[in-house]
Amino acid sequence: MSELSVNHLLGIKYINEDDINLIFETADHFKEVINRPIKKVPSLRDITIANLFFENSTRTRLSFELAEKRLSADVINFSAASSSLTKGETLIDTVNNILSMKVDMVVMRHPNPGAGVFLSKHINASIVNAGDGAHEHPTQALLDCYSIRERLKSVAGKKVVIVGDILHSRVALSNIFALQKLGATVKVCGPKTLIPKYIEKLGVSYEGNLRKALEWCDVANMLRVQNERMEISYFPTTREYTQQYGVNKALLDSLGKEIVVMHPGPINRGVEITSDVADSKQAIILEQVQNGVAIRMAVLYLLASKIQHNEN
């Protein structure tokens, strides 16, 4: 069997198609494990993982913690609100202090883009990026592609439109990389103000009209409007955004074909998608969450297998 080409999962940008497929195949096995009466395997019983969340998270953090516990790893949690960062400690110092307590892997979310890459150059532990600013969120992209693969049998050749706030979204960037590496075609759709200026350099086309974008695609990934990252107004009102870029059941039903609707959560019901869409059979939002645990188990397992065993 092959192994991952990297020692850290910092972003989809840094891994290749074989890595992604290896993660998917491993996740298939873990998906079977988490559907057993006893959902736990002892693989990582000698590994300690620190979850460092310098930014709020519910879903990702729970998902990682569950994945770690189902692999029998020891887990320590850390959140920025209660940390010494507020006392002026640097990131490297904080992490080195934690590592001196013999931690093998770090799962980190940080508001600054590149925080994971920076850390990987300075510390001696496997790092999994759980979101760095508006840069990357690799495990989310992996679970999104895995969910597409599960629903539509493969990702290659599929047309995927990512709708909404592309500018502030790490999910969008990681998804674009992952989908393209797996052979899908990607379009983005949203208010021009929320589309990065150089998006076409990534090989992604832009469509301003939501109906046209949905008629073109097999899968629509609806992103949340990240109000917390917007220092200025990017569109007039939420109501106007919803009218132009919100998906409702009537619009979906009028397409003449059944597309798959995804959402990385948390959903603003009635803004980017209406409740009847979120709860419909076309939406695979809860499958995404379930697959998230299997994908994260696979990532942690494969990275842990690259940590040298210490005979002492």
Partner: protein, 179 residues
Amino acid sequence: MSQKVLLNATEVHIALHRLACQLIENHDNFQDTVLVGIQPRGVYLAERLKIMLEKDYKIKNIRLGYLDITFYRDDFRRGDKPLEANTTQIDFIVEDKKVVFIDDVLYTGRSIRSALTAIQSFGRPTEIELLTLIDRRFSRHLPIQPDYRGRQVDAINKEKVKVCWKEQDGEDAVYLISN
């Protein structure tokens, strides 16, 4: 590298029939018994025995599952090669059942130790037995012995025992391979 035939196709066939008969002696109509093939190589033997029990001995509804032990192994991160997982497929409940583990070669006993842990995820069996085609004597690391064995083999550590199956390797045979 040289290799020696330990069992040819006829001898494998005879051993399989004997093992099937021994299973019937202890498990009668297999009402409370389930067979579990250990992935990857125990599966062929388990499938053969199932077919034999059903066709030649007219026992109906033999339950057979496949158990992958990769995530339970104690040599994770110790080997040179990463461990490759296989499919686990156990479509029945092992709670209050007699489980028979089926593997091709019993060597150090570590795989079976892992399988004993792994099967607990599917319930609490009343008892667990072990069937192996080849039992390598004097090489155990753990106090594990088979309940049913096809053939005992004395092989030194550098030698390798390879079990070939028609459906996978083109012939039924057991070889002793030495460098």
